[in-house]
């Protein structure tokens, strides 16, 4: 059972450790898990794993994009009409916020690589703040849709007075009239609108959790010039969330 006995046999065979640090080997830095030989191997594995996971994410969203394509081809006039109900200014604003947050995420990676712990934390916090701004804007957008009865599927046309949680002073007035001026099947558009943006918002929420976790690890001083993998792959995830929005925005808000 002793570590002495094992390290004599072979340096590679020694040092199984469930927590990823290795106490009895010179060439194993603290961050290197027991089953990797070199930090490069560990970094490349993490990168490949994340990219594979992102492929999975794309396929996950692809179902919604296909549904969008199918429904758009069935009901082009409904999609055209309903898209004008969305607030383009808010959508564009959110797009800028997310693009900016992708830049700060990339800068956080760079700062870690340069060993600038404080800069890393700063960029991570700005990224997290952008994510909250995005969700805040979405909250008001959703609120407006609720007020106007622009709801998915069978709830379409049933307005819900949510003025108590969405103050009118912010410019959202309750409109309890069902939107009868919209073409038939606009309800399908809003089903897809809420599913697509909802699933995307869920990814933003998960991203906030991940970024806060990375920020705390950075505060604890876990990252260095030699070990920045978690920041790197968290940023990769954040870029994907941004990328999906880059497609959602024109598809839902802009094209006629």
């Amino acid at each position: 059972m002793s570590a002495e006995a094992s390290s004599v046999v072979d340096p590679h065979a020694a040092g199984h450790d469930d927590h990823g640090h290795d106490e009895h080997e010179h060439e194993h830095p603290k961050f290197l898990a027991h089953h990797f030989d070199t930090p490069v191997q560990q970094f490349e594995s993490a990168k490949l794993g994340m990219w594979t996971f992102l492929v999975q994410e794309l396929l996950f969203f692809s179902g919604l994009f296909v549904a969008y394509g199918v429904f758009r081809s069935w009901y082009p006039e409904a999609f055209s009409g309903a898209s004008h109900e969305l607030n383009k200014v808010m959508g564009a604003g959110n797009t800028i916020v997310l693009l900016f947050s992708s830049w700060t995420a990339a800068m956080a990676v760079r700062a870690t690589q340069l060993g600038q712990k404080k800069m890393t934390s700063m960029f991570l916090l700005v990224t997290i703040a952008c994510a909250f701004i995005f969700l805040g804007v979405k909250y008001f957008e959703y609120g407006a849709k609720f007020n106007e009865g622009l709801l998915p599927g069978k709830y379409f046309g049933h307005a819900y007075d949510v003025s108590s949680i969405f103050p009118a002073s912010l410019g959202f007035h309750t409109n309890l009239e069902p939107s009868e001026h919209l073409p038939a099947h606009a309800s399908s558009y809003f089903s897809l609108y809420f599913m697509m943006t909802g699933v995307h918002a869920l990814h933003i929420i998960v991203g906030i959790g991940v970024l806060i976790w990375i920020w705390r690890r950075n505060e604890r001083g876990e990252f260095s010039k030699e070990f920045f993998t978690p920041v790197d792959i968290a940023a990769l995830y954040w870029h994907l969330v941004d990328l999906v929005w880059i497609y959602l925005f024109p598809l839902l808000y802009l094209i006629d």
Partner: protein, 551 residues
């Protein structure tokens, strides 16, 4: 040594398990299992869960067959019967067969075959196990809460209108899907990045190749199921209307989405079984697999083609004629990689020194039964014939020949083959052969009868039947008892092995493959010294006497 330990958090050496100790004894206590990061223990925990699911799904199957033993009501009413066949399907597909070979056997064997110490992401591996268990809880909750009567395919509009417990079951499948995706990601990276020195791509075992191809499908197809099931849940929950014609949606769209996953999923189920067959055939005919690269690439070809044929489930659902023709043609292409495998296996047997031990009996059963299952699939791919055979017992028999005759035979064969390596114990070979005999006979009796009645027009999933089908249903039910008896015998045999089995030697089968070169059971770090490979797993002509010896 020990120079770093001043900076690393000091932990007493007594806490650190010895990597060269037998993995079953290196650490002790229930927590050492529940929080283990060792791929071998995670594999075993998967194995236990998967076998429980198999027993459960098998019980449902026996009840379905028992109900059909006589015309009219035998045991349960029609509503209960609908729930039974649905539960049989859901449990067997999502809880048993998808994780069976990759997550249970693959988890144990894959890193050892690569010469690695573990999978690339051990914590993610443990997380996959818990996600699977969490999803399974939802499925069990659904069963307690009145279960589901839609069939395992959850077709809309019935699944959005029935008042059975669809949402928990669908969410269970949704959650288990992520377990499958994460296992796929883990295996892909492991194969790419954790191969031992000298473990080149052309020296990988064909089981590894099969798991690699399977992982690709798991990563690419499962998320589509996830979003489909999410849409289905929201359809029930919020009345989304995507699949509801009343609200401008289309139920056929659900079928497209569902089969875009579920047809590739068929290859998630069968390709690992094919992988196991390679290992067993090579070991028990003491010969290299003929056409190694063809067999390896045929796994990838199946992974690719699997994505292009989903439409053949919708030939009678309302698709354009041109689309059906394309899907039909693509379906026939699947026969090519499948044929490559079968012919290469048969060629491997030629002039091999064949030993008919229990794993080999299952591997040979696989070839025989899978060939029948595969060829009957071609009948169904023919447009005109499919109109007649669609939704009959012919389809049921076809996919059971592939799923049970193929995957389950591969899984059980692999379980026999690696059992000594996993547990360190031998089992009673005579009893294993006895069990095999009943499994093989019982399976064929059950499903040949279904081929015949299906071709005569007996629809699947019906509660009752016309008098002319009685003889076939009776035969099929009797076959299910023989099959059940076979599996029961096997279970007793394995339990006896655990309790009082003889200690296994290092290499009881005299195999040249890498996993048999390390101790039995393997040490915690899989190998005492990281192996450097100079040959492939099937190179019997290059293996030394010492490597092939039992000790």
């Amino acid at each position: 040594m020990g120079a770093v330990s001043t900076t690393a958090p000091a932990r007493s050496h007594a806490d650190t398990p010895d990597p060269n100790e037998n993995y079953l004894k290196a650490t002790r206590g229930i927590a050492s299992w529940l929080f283990t990061l060792d791929h071998k223990r995670i594999g075993i925990m998967y194995l236990v869960l998967v076998l429980i699911a198999f027993a459960l799904g098998g019980t449902f199957a026996l009840l379905v067959r028992l109900e059909l033993f006589t015309r009219g009501r035998t045991l349960m009413d029609a509503d209960m019967y609908n729930r039974m066949f649905t539960l049989h399907g859901v449990v067997m597909v999502f809880l048993f067969i998808i994780p069976s070979i990759p997550a249970a056997l693959g988890n144990f064997v894959l890193p050892i075959q690569l010469g690695a110490k573990d999978v690339a992401f051990p914590r993610l591996n443990l997380m996959s196990l818990y996600i699977y268990a969490f999803g399974a809880c939802f499925a069990v909750y659904s069963m307690v809460d009145g279960a589901v009567d839609t069939g395992w395919t959850f077709y809309t509009p019935y699944s959005t209108t029935t008042n059975s417990a669809v949402i928990p079951m669908v969410l269970g499948a949704f959650i288990m899907g992520f377990s499958s995706i994460l296992t796929g990601v883990n295996f892909l990276v492991t194969v790419h990045k954790l191969r031992a020195p000298g473990q080149t791509w052309t020296r990988l075992s064909l089981f590894t190749w099969a798991l690699y191809a399977t992982s690709i499908i798991q990563v690419l197809a499962t998320p589509v199921l996830a979003i489909t099931l999410l849409l289905l849940t929201m359809e029930r929950f919020l009345g989304l209307g995507i699949f509801d014609p009343k609200l401008g949606g289309d139920p056929v769209l659900f079928q497209h989405f569902f089969w875009f996953y579920s047809h590739p999923a068929v290859y998630i189920m069968i390709v690992p079984g094919m992988g196991v067959v390679n290992e067993i055939l090579s070991t028990f005919s003491r010969r290299a697999i003929v056409g190694y690269m063809f067999v390896a690439m045929s796994s990838l070809a199946l992974a690719l083609l699997g994505f292009l044929v989903w439409g053949h489930h919708l030939f009678v659902s309302g698709m354009s004629e041109y689309a059906t023709m394309v899907f039909s043609a693509l379906t026939f292409l699947v026969a090519i990689p499948s044929g490559v495998k079968v012919f290469n296996w048969v060629a491997t047997l030629w002039k091999g020194s064949i030993r008919l031990e229990s794993p080999m009996l299952y591997a040979l059963s696989f070839i025989f039964l899978f060939t029948i299952g595969g060829l009957t699939g071609l009948f169904l791919g023919v447009l005109a014939i499919d109109v007649h055979l669609h939704d009959t017992y012919f389809v049921v028999a076809h996919f059971h020949y592939v799923m049970v005759g193929g995957t389950v035979m591969g899984f059980v064969g692999g379980l026999h083959y690696w059992w000594p390596k996993i547990t360190g114990k031998l089992y009673d070979e005579k009893m294993a052969k006895f069990a095999w005999f009943f499994v093989f006979i019982g399976f064929n009796v059950t499903f040949v009868a279904q081929f015949i009645m299906g071709s005569r027009g007996m629809p699947r999933r019906y509660y009752d039947y016309l008098p002319e089908f009685e003889i076939f249903h009776k035969t099929s039910t009797i076959g299910s008892w023989i099959l059940g008896f076979g599996f029961l015998t096997m279970a007793v045999m394995f339990v006896m092995s655990l309790k009082s089995g003889k200690k296994s030697t290092r290499n009881p089968w005299g195999s040249a493959a890498l996993e048999w070169q390390t101790a039995t059971p393997p040490p915690l770090a899989n190998f005492v010294k990281v192996p450097t490979l100079t040959r492939g797993p099937y190179d019997y002509h290059l293996a030394t006497e010492e490597e092939l010896s039992e000790k």
